[in-house]
Subunit: 118 residues, 2 copies
Amino acid sequence: MRATLNHTLMAIADPTRRAILHKLAGGEERVTDLARPFAMSLNSVSKHIRILERARLVRRRRSGREHLLSINPKPLDEAADWIETQRALWTARLDALDDLLKVEDRAAASRKKKGSSP
Amino acid sequence: MRATLNHTLMAIADPTRRAILHKLAGGEERVTDLARPFAMSLNSVSKHIRILERARLVRRRRSGREHLLSINPKPLDEAADWIETQRALWTARLDALDDLLKVEDRAAASRKKKGSSP
DNA sequence: CCGATATTCACCCAATCGGATGAATATGGA
DNA sequence: TCCATATTCATCCGATTGGGTGAATATCGG
């Protein structure tokens, strides 16, 4: 059903959220601690967290009044797959095109050598 | 200056644009031909193209009144890099955590064997 | 020069985003 | 019980997005 890929790419297409993920890579953190270094309100960070949760990139575990956030790497697999697939497709095509151009160049050079069309 | 990464991730975080890129993987195409299979106006596709151009994922070559669009894979490298870096970071940490838990389990089991705290 | 084709430009609109604020809820601790 | 702390909920706002329409621009073909 692949709505996941949209959510994942959407989630990481924002520098604040990428920074949050990067910070969480250091280990579980409370919302407040996580939000502290950012130049925005706690609430705004909370919203970003929700978007990351929707993409399943972040998991939440409650311990009393504290919400401990941690990272889940799995959704990134799908994103990496898409990128790698496209990259392979494209570069294959562009390489083929490159080869074609080289062949044409050689043919032109050979025609020139024979002096058929100066 | 890395505004590129934002543009790239933003650009591919939309299914229509991903479809456009996929289609362009087959080779250069005119705007009209590119737009045909999509259930939206030519203008809307044109807008998506502009966003892909901003991210440098798509290049434009004019030939008379036709605009030929082609793919440029390079911006994807940066996106792939970010994903791979994060993935490595996260999984390394999670694996370490896993190992830690296993060690604790073994310690607990050994304590139990000795009957120290039933 | 004229009409058809290819594409964008200039708007318009509803929905979403990223941020802010203030109130509500829930838990911890004295 | 009372107060402080941790977090979200409910709104509000301006900017951006994704879509649409109609007009403008440029080129091709006769």
